[in-house]
Symmetry: C2
Subunit: 204 residues, 2 copies
């Protein structure tokens, strides 16, 4: 873990440091490369996520910035607003969800949820070793499917940028810098934990 | 973290201990109660998960075993196969996903995925403080919606059991014990990381 960043949460309970520390940069440091050994650690953590019937309904396309053509191709699958900042990340990934159970071909109702579990492992592990991750829903799903020949029964779902956030003092655009310095906020636990019926606050 | 359990992963990379250690018990220790302070830590970790546009599309119904009627009601929303073991957990939760963005009412395509991110934070935090979590897709969604008056635009999605796994030596059913001792398995990272096009292994 690096020194405290204004994006690090100030949690109400003593939670794991990487869970409190993770945040999603818009200003990546284009001069830094994600070390292959760190990437492998992040992917190993992802691998061990739970999933319904241990189906592991996740696959990924990956491209590194140093592979210029491959990186440009993947960048082109993101919405334009994401391309602006994601071009400075070191590694891009497009997550792919498998729609049906391999065993019986029935729809896997929680496949997208379980893809989220895998992504959760990745981002927490990344934070633990100082790697900054920004996930995106803004992906041109049809373009990704065509570009990578993703077969029937599988769909692109999100994109993930990995790398290193730019140091705050190196961000010259004042609006961007303000965004990167603004503390993260969340609903309080009490606002989304109910007991007995919807909307009735749980006594915790 | 407690002593090494046969369910703890033997990862190929030095990943975070709670990510390697977490597993989903079928044999909970019905004599143990999840301490409220530990539950609060788990929920605080959940709270800080990432989500698209920081929408936080998650809510939960919760019931503790000591609140007998409430616990029985929630247990009755699980599929029968899950009731058998989940009745010995200390706390049950039903996760609820919000379908549309609050800001503009448009469908949130990644709401289920982001619910998975929240659950991922919960399970990793739980593992870090020795709490055992088992998530379930086997929920009677219609019954949960009716039982808890979950409004339009929100749907029950999964259930989560929290508590403490029974010590292996206390499990008398040989089949159950074998299950609780069998190491977890996962696909290798190389099997689901592609580059350039679908099915083409990435060089990592």
């Amino acid at each position: 873990m690096t020194t405290r960043h204004p994006k690090h949460a100030t949690p109400d309970q003593p939670i794991l440091e990487p869970i409190a520390a993770r945040w999603s940069p818009y200003a990546y440091d284009a001069t830094r490369t994600l070390e292959p050994e760190k990437l492998r650690i992040c992917l190993e953590a992802l691998r061990w996520a739970a999933s319904s019937y241990n189906e592991q309904p996740w696959s990924y396309l990956i491209a590194r910035r140093e592979d210029e053509a491959a990186f440009k191709t993947m960048l082109g699958c993101l919405w334009e607003g994401n391309q602006v900042w994601a071009q400075n990340a070191s590694v891009l990934m497009i997550s792919v969800v498998q729609r049906a159970f391999k065993l019986n071909g029935k729809p896997n109702r929680v496949a997208e949820h379980d893809l989220g579990l895998a992504a959760g492992n990745l981002v927490i592990q990344a934070a633990a070793i100082g790697v900054d991750v920004h996930q995106m829903a803004g992906v041109d799903l049809g373009k990704a499917k065509q570009t990578y020949a993703i077969p029937d029964g599988y769909d692109a779902h999100t994109a993930i940028a990995l790398g290193y956030a730019a140091p705050l003092e190196a961000i010259t655009d004042p609006k961007l810098r303000t965004g990167e310095e603004t503390p993260r906020t969340r609903k309080k636990v009490e606002e989304f934990m109910f007991a007995g019926k919807w909307g009735q606050r749980a006594s915790l």
